[in-house]
């Protein structure tokens, strides 16, 4: 598997694992008898971001030591094109989700933590699409 495809897998799986754990935990908390307040939720969001950064950096460092020569090689034109196309699709997804989330907030409303987490989920999904598309293009051509 190419070095940069491994990087895409690391980012995809890290976001998926941290993101799904966070949102499942959040869902359980929100449906409990005594839902926690905004500051507790914000604290949880910060922990999730910290966990993601830590896991992502750690796995990339391990990958670097496993293949130091590949990691030093600059991206070539095909890899740049893959990143460009994946980012473009992820941006489109982000715009569509932004509109949906904005409509939901305006028409349905909800608690502040819910609104904030809808925005976080929007970013998480668009990043999953980005890294998923990178993997797709590396596997099946661009």
């Amino acid at each position: 598997m190419p070095f940069r495809e491994k990087r895409a897998w690391i980012s995809f799986l890290t976001i998926f694992i941290v993101g799904s754990t966070y949102f499942i935990y959040l869902f359980v908390l929100a449906h409990s008898d005594d839902p926690p307040g905004f500051y507790y939720m914000a604290h949880m969001a910060l922990i999730a971001v910290f966990a993601f950064v830590l896991l992502d950096v750690l796995l990339h460092v391990v990958l670097y030591f496993m293949s130091p020569e590949d990691s030093r090689m600059p991206r070539d034109e095909r890899e740049l094109l893959i990143d460009f196309k994946a980012t473009r699709i992820a941006f489109t997804v982000l715009v569509i989700l932004s509109m949906i989330v904005a409509a939901l907030i305006i028409h349905i409303g909800g608690a502040d933590y819910l609104k904030g987490n809808m925005v976080i989920m929007m970013v998480v999904i668009s990043q999953l699409v980005k890294h998923g598309m990178r993997i797709f293009y590396y596997r099946w051509g661009v």
Binding site: R78, E79, W140, G141, V142
Partner: protein, 72 residues
């Protein structure tokens, strides 16, 4: 997505050049081995610059390395 309409003879030219590896060709034209593989399989059309560099490595004119055919 996998058929770009541009054929090439890179595999044959590598064999003619003493079984030059994809990695060696990649190093010579400053792209990764995976990109050379994708070009050979027709999964990626290189830029003109990379196409010229590949032709230069084999000492052949561009049209001997890459051929364009209209898709039906």
């Amino acid at each position: 997505m996998t058929d770009c309409g541009i054929r090439n003879t890179i595999r044959q030219l590598r064999a003619d050049k003493g079984e030059m590896t994809q990695q060696e060709l990649g190093n010579a034209v400053q792209v990764t081995r995976q990109t050379i593989n994708a070009i050979e399989l027709g999964k990626y059309s290189p830029s003109l610059e990379v196409a010229f560099r590949i032709a230069e490595v084999f000492g052949k004119p561009l049209e001997e390395v890459f051929q364009y055919s209209k898709k039906a």
